[in-house]
Subunit: 100 residues, 7 copies
């Protein structure tokens, strides 16, 4: 999935995040009731933006990197759908923390 | 179409985007139901702005270029109609990512 | 008309724009139904402002020039009436693009 | 009138403007119907402010000068009454253009 | 009155203003109807603030001084009562002009 | 009381203020009706913040100091309760003036 | 608990705060009525952010450190749940003061 998502290069200080809190299915096919609803803002960074420039024209490095599991603002970002998978494009600013 | 759209030079950090998600018609004339409604914010960059200046009077380069397929904010930009074709003039800031 | 409009010197980064999309009358006096309503934000730049200063006190050059046909934000600018002709004074910022 | 208005020194980047579009009376006492209502934002600059400082502490020069006939934003400025005459104190920023 | 008001040192770019437009009483005790209602925003500067610092840490000088009769925004400032006299603490920014 | 309040170190440009206008009780236990209601925004500075940094990383000095009697914006600050005493933590910006 | 919370690294100038004012249970199992409701904004800093950069690209040091008991704005921060424990991720800016 991350490979496919890499088809989008976010602009500027944005990152592409794949939500991980929905439709988790246990091995063997039994659907686990979505207890994850209490923390709906978890995701995995699948693409990093082209970079934001500071006043001197230098790129500001990202704090997060591809593969990071992150907590992000519930209302941050814009939903995009790629190959029937929902993603969020958000500013790194909207990411609250890195898990793990 | 892109050739005609090039008749507009966007000002500053704006770009001209031609929407690609509406009224797609299959060869042979059968209208395909608009399943694209889930991602209504896709377009093709058909013209780049005159450039935005930083505090030192230097032009800030654009990240997108003509021909780029982009995802943009659903509510970003202003609609303009040229030769019966709708376009959007928006700030590069309103472009979320480049596809492909 | 442009000559008369030149009687106003816009302040700072403003420009004076004469709308071109209304009351177009064909030669011979037949009124053409206003099909231009779909692109109501077209105009001609008839005067350039006194210039905006940057932080160093230097004037920032205008991108548009007198005679340019422009697309501008439908809600940008302030209407002024001179010799029974409506004009718009708007910031160059409110101009979206140059046509042609 | 301008002489009396000079009793107020506007602070900073403000100017004092005397409206010219109301209660125009023709010689001989016949009141001319107020056709000026369509351009209610015309005035004459009667006093210039103490000046606005830039970041370096230098005064930014005014573009308008006393005696200039100006167009200004209908809702800009604050009304003040001096010797039964209404004036407007507004920022130079609220002046749209100089007439003439 | 000004002497008592001097008991307050306004912070930063604030000034202390004593309103002069209310309860004017003629010698001999006859109360003059408050015709001053039309210009309710007149006052006398009775104390100057501790000063505002610019980005370099230098104090920005005040334009007004103690004793100045000023016009100020009707809604600017905060009312304070000292020894049964109302005063206004406002930013110098809220003062529109100096009278006289 | 001030000693106890000193248990809180305000962050940045904040100060800790102890209100002085409520529940004043005369010696002998007779409660004085709260005539202070007209100036409810008086307090005593009981702790100074850790300091605010300017753009160069230098600390901006406070204008107020511990022990100062101050007037502050009625709606500024956040109430905190320590040992059954109410305090306000507010930015120095919200302090209007120093009394005395 | 703090050890577990350390599994989250807040981004930028954010800190992770564990609330301390709820569900305090006395030894022996008797639930103490929540008298702490009057000061609901108390917490313990359990993780410090990756740091905020100033305009020169230098990290701005944090004022608070892990283990600090803090007062914070009641409405600041975003709730996150980790291992059945609620935490708040907030900007250091939202912390009002350090207790003790």
């Amino acid at each position: 999935m991350a490979a496919k998502a890499a088809k989008i290069r976010p602009i500027g200080d944005r990152v592409l995040v794949k939500p991980v809190d929905a439709q988790e299915v246990k091995k063997g096919g039994i659907i686990i009731p979505d207890t994850a609803k209490e923390k709906p803002s978890e995701g995995e960074v699948v693409a990093i933006g082209t970079g934001k420039l500071n006043d001197k024209g230098e790129k500001i490095p990202f704090v997060v990197k591809v593969g990071d599991r992150v907590l992000h603002s519930k209302y941050g970002g814009t939903e995009v759908k790629l190959d029937d998978q929902d993603y969020l494009i958000m500013r790194e600013e909207d990411i609250l923390g890195i898990i793990g």
